[in-house]
């Protein structure tokens, strides 16, 4: 029976849905001249409230117990709560960066923020989905919003091309995913995660089940951008407006991660032996291809795209590590996304109207132009390269130890060797910023709030060291109760 009380755990979703509609309407009456201050204010406020509600619910539930709602199609548990709070925090940063970008381009429109909010809602549904129908609905909501966000500047040919590519390939991946789901339904007779898990435990593994697994895995790999399903990622990252690229590398990645954990670690834990080698090969290929291709990029957005692929590979290695590895993968993706939006944030800050600071040479002599931003970027880049004492190192450490614990010593060695190769392209950006002479002395004009957000974002690479034990411990807790 459906009761009103069932709605309470889903309050954050309802709030975001309502506010997305409000922002859409307010956006109609908010002109470009006002700079969209009010819309950003509303969006940020929504996220703040969502943080409060989710955190309150989370604290109120004893020992991380889970709540199944709406006939088992929606779940509220510690794992979802933590990921959602991370999404809210990332989105706050995304809103500020987006405001900065849209203002520089004098193209502030309400829809942008409404779309971001709808995508956030999709992310939240994916995190909490416990049934393949709700998971798929969330997935499509994120995807549809993202296509529109990529094509946001209507006159930009590159952006439109990217959106087209993204749409066609995305639709195909969704199709494959759905096909896998239908096979899975045939094999187990259910769409709900826990029932699927129980059904798999009861029966011998038949062909249909494994085939379904493969197709679902392809869909997940596509959303994450793991090799060999990564082709869209560099093109879309490069073609999209940088504010959208920044968004694409935040919440949707968390959603895809949650999907992977729900489906693989929760639903199909009993056929771990089947998907572990598949995920391991995806991870290995991603690390190798991502790092090697990133070496030759002159375009920073494209370089970050390949670097994302390699980081996703590293994160997947955590999933290969079995039950203990999920916590390390979760920590890795959280930490990585904080770095990634910081990196794109600096590109946003350096961009001027119509010109994105996307070439590596645009960063020449940044240390002379503004040593603070250069230092922020330095922290982010070294953190991505995994150099201690920055937090990116610890993320790698956790994954490596989970991997070695699972007996994959050789994979760990390959991973670190490619991490060294990867260090080169991050260092190249540092080199350009610090060792080269600046070509322009154009002042960097950024409003105070965005500057503060970026500083917090980048200093988190150092500051997280203090709360890192707590955060990691928490990741372990919430994944234990999956």
């Amino acid at each position: 029976m459906f009761g009103w009380s069932e709605l309470i755990p889903a309050l954050p979703e309802l709030l975001v849905l309502a506010m997305a509609c409000v922002v859409l309407i307010v956006g109609l009456y908010s002109s470009n001249r006002s700079g969209g201050g009010f819309i950003v204010f509303l969006s940020v406020l929504t996220m703040l409230f969502a943080i409060i509600i989710t955190a309150k619910d989370h604290v109120a539930t004893v020992d991380f117990s889970r709540q199944l709602l709406f006939n088992g199609s929606f779940i509220r548990d510690g794992f979802g709560d933590l990921l959602k709070i991370v999404v809210y925090i990332l989105m706050i940063a995304v809103f500020f960066y987006a405001k900065q970008y849209l203002r520089t381009n004098q193209n502030v429109r309400g829809e942008y923020f409404a779309l971001l909010l709808f995508a956030t809602l999709g992310t939240m549904v994916m995190i909490s989905g416990y049934n393949f129908i709700s998971l798929y609905l969330g997935l499509e909501l994120v995807a549809l919003s993202s296509y529109a966000l990529v094509a946001y500047s209507r006159t930009d040919i590159k952006g439109n091309e990217a959106a087209m590519k993204y749409f066609i390939l995305g639709a195909m991946a969704s199709g494959l995913f759905l096909y896998g789901v239908s096979l899975l339904y045939g094999a187990t007779g259910s769409l709900q995660i826990n029932e699927i898990s129980a059904a798999i435990a009861r029966q011998d593994n038949d062909m249909m089940l494994v085939l379904g697994l493969i197709f679902i895995l392809v869909g997940i790999a596509f959303k994450l951008g793991a090799v060999p399903f990564h082709m869209w990622l560099p093109d879309v990252y490069e073609g999209a407006p940088v504010a959208t690229t920044l968004f694409l590398s935040s919440a949707p990645k968390i959603a895809a991660f949650a999907l992977a954990v729900r489906v693989l670690s929760q639903g199909m834990e009993n056929i771990f032996d089947y998907w572990q080698p598949m995920v391991a090969s995806l991870a290995l290929l991603s690390i190798v291809i991502g790092n090697v291709f990133a070496l030759q990029q002159d375009n920073l957005k494209r370089m970050f795209a390949y670097s994302t692929i390699s980081h996703i590979g590293f994160m997947l290695l955590g999933l290969v590590g079995g039950a203990d590895g999920v916590a390390s993968a979760m920590f890795y993706i959280i930490v990585y996304l904080i770095m990634a939006i910081g990196g794109f944030g600096v590109i946003v800050l350096l961009s001027s109207k119509g010109i994105e600071a996307e070439k590596i040479s645009d960063f020449k002599g940044l240390n002379q132009r503004n040593s603070w931003y250069a230092f922020m970027m330095l922290l982010i880049l070294f953190s991505m390269a995994g150099v201690p004492p920055l937090v990116g190192f610890f993320a790698k450490l956790y994954v490596l130890q989970a991997l070695i614990a699972a007996g994959y010593l050789w994979l760990a060695i390959v991973a670190v060797i490619f991490a060294v190769i990867g260090a080169f392209y991050y260092l190249r950006v540092v080199k350009v910023m610090y060792f080269d002479e600046s070509e322009t002395d154009q002042a960097i004009d950024v409003s105070f709030d965005v500057k503060a957000v970026l500083s917090v974002n980048a200093l988190a690479q150092l500051g997280l060291l203090v709360i890192l034990p707590v955060l990691f411990q928490y990741c372990i807790y919430v994944t234990k109760t999956l």
Binding site: P388, A423, L468
Partner: protein, 501 residues
């Protein structure tokens, strides 16, 4: 109370001070210089109690601090020094003061960043020498690449980008393999504590793999032949201060790593591969010594001489295993190696500073551009000759003590090892003194040299301090030996017991 957190203060004072300097910015250069000097002097003064209150009779860890840091992985913030690490901490604080002074006039671009990088580097180096948790050690070990990368890259010579990238990637590659080794050790033992790891029994196969994982990390850092090629590049391109800290302290981290990790944790594998390490050390001593002779660039010459001298350190460390078998005096080998580390810290710093003095005046490091410097710079000429003598191991200087002890010890192991090692006395004299002959003595060869001014009071002070240390350690090394004795003996007792399962 204060002593309980002395090491933390030594690590964090320069680091936080360095960040503060960054915030001061480019405009307040005078204030930045002054503050950097104050910070480094205060750190040095604070490090003195480490020496005065050190209990030389005990091999135990002293000035211990221990708190849980990351519970999930059992990582502790665990600091402490023993007789082997304490002198290196003090070496670091002394050298940093001199580096700050030496940069006073020379560095005028981004002074705040230079001073900040140096101070942060100092904190990390002290961290490396005092960490007693393997992961904490690794953290500092790796983190110091960042400031060094920046130092070479911003203030370096024309080919600095190539040199600094090579430096970074080379060392990074070495240390990530070490990281895998450390994680493996953690997985087997559940601890990062160095004392507990030293007591951990391991099979021979495990030890062999781990030995090579650590070997790559430390050998690159020292650097040993054949992975030494990054060092000449890095030295030549680095600014004077960068070369000094690199030669005087960072190279020591590699030797220290062998003593702190490879020997106690993997004694059987170390024993097994003694032949390899000794061979590589002897190649470094002779071949690199020969390479040094033909160098045209003074900095490159000193860089090669550093590699050759560090060969003595590894030779001394691994002679221990040969001597243990023949009941030789293995204490002497290890003590000699440790003294060689400290002494080379002073001498190489002095040599690089001398080249820096010349470079500041004529902006060239080529030997052929100089000649007859003694005529225009008598004081400087005196210092340079003195340090070159020390570099070639003249009795009475600290350079002699360590080398002599190692050579003496190697005689007990094998005549031929001693013979090869002793060749360094000839080679060292050849490259150092031939350079001196061409640079300092003779008639003035060109007008540029004629117009050179002798050392300023500041430069005089720096060189004089180093000269005093080199002399005192050379004439009376007993206090240093005394401090190390208990720790060295304990280490040798420990490695003489097999821990193969």
């Amino acid at each position: 109370m204060f002593e309980q957190s002395l090491l933390s203060v030594l690590i964090w004072l320069p680091m936080i001070g360095g960040l503060l300097l960054l915030a001061l910015g480019q405009q307040r250069a005078g204030m930045v210089r002054f503050l950097a000097l104050v910070l480094s002097v205060v750190t040095f003064l604070l490090s003195l109690p480490l020496w005065t209150q050190f209990d030389g009779g005990s091999a135990a860890l002293q000035f211990v601090e221990k708190t849980v840091w990351i519970d999930a992985l059992n990582i502790h913030y665990h600091l402490g020094v023993n007789g082997i690490s304490m002198p290196l901490v003090i070496l670091t604080t002394i050298i940093t003061v001199l580096i700050v002074l030496s940069a006073w006039k020379v560095i005028d671009k981004n002074v705040h960043q230079y001073m900040a990088a140096m101070l942060i580097l100092e904190g990390m180096l002290i961290g490396v020498f005092s960490a007693h948790d393997a992961l904490l050690f690794y953290l500092f070990f790796e983190a110091m690449l960042i400031p060094m990368f920046i130092i070479i890259g911003i203030w370096g010579g024309p080919n600095r980008v190539y040199a600094t990238l090579k430096f970074f990637l080379y060392t990074f590659l070495g240390s990530v393999l070490m990281l895998i080794g450390l994680i493996y050790l953690y997985m087997t033992s559940g601890t990062w504590n160095l004392t507990e790891l030293a007591a951990l029994p391991l099979t021979m196969t495990e030890q062999t793999w781990l030995f090579f994982a650590f070997f790559v990390g430390f050998a690159i850092k020292i650097p040993m032949f054949p992975v030494h090629t990054w060092l000449p590049d890095a030295h030549v391109e680095a600014p004077t201060g960068g070369s000094v800290v690199l030669a005087a302290i960072m190279l020591k981290v590699g030797g220290y790593g062998f003593v702190r990790f490879s020997l106690p944790i993997l004694p059987d594998a170390s024993q097994e591969f003694t032949w390899l390490l000794i061979t590589l050390s002897l190649i470094a001593i002779i071949y690199i010594g020969l390479v040094a002779i033909v160098q045209k660039d003074m900095k490159k010459l000193i860089a090669y001489s550093s590699i050759s001298h560090m060969g003595f350190v590894t030779l001394g460390i691994f002679l221990v295993f040969m001597l243990m078998r023949s009941d030789g005096n293995s204490d002497m080998a290890l003590t000699g190696a440790m003294i060689q580390m400290v002494s080379h810290g002073f001498i190489s710093a002095a040599m690089f500073l001398c080249v820096g003095v010349l470079y500041d005046r004529l902006h060239t490091r080529m030997i052929r551009d100089y000649g007859g410097v003694i005529n225009t710079m008598p004081w400087f000429g005196g210092f340079f000759v003195f340090f070159a003598m020390a570099n070639s191991g003249l009795p009475g200087t600290s350079g002699f003590v360590g080398e002599f002890m190692v050579i003496l010890a190697s005689f007990q192991a094998s005549f031929w090892i001693a013979f090869c090692a002793a060749i360094t006395l000839i080679l060292g004299a050849a490259y150092s003194l031939w350079m001196i002959k061409r640079v300092v003595f003779g008639t003035i060869t060109n007008e540029a040299v004629e117009s050179m001014q002798d050392v300023t009071t500041r430069e005089f002070f720096i060189l004089a301090v180093l000269a005093v240390f080199v002399l005192v350690l050379g004439v009376w090394p007993e206090p240093l030996v005394e401090v190390m004795r208990a720790s060295v003996q304990q280490l040798i007792e420990h490695v003489s017991v097999s821990k193969v399962i």
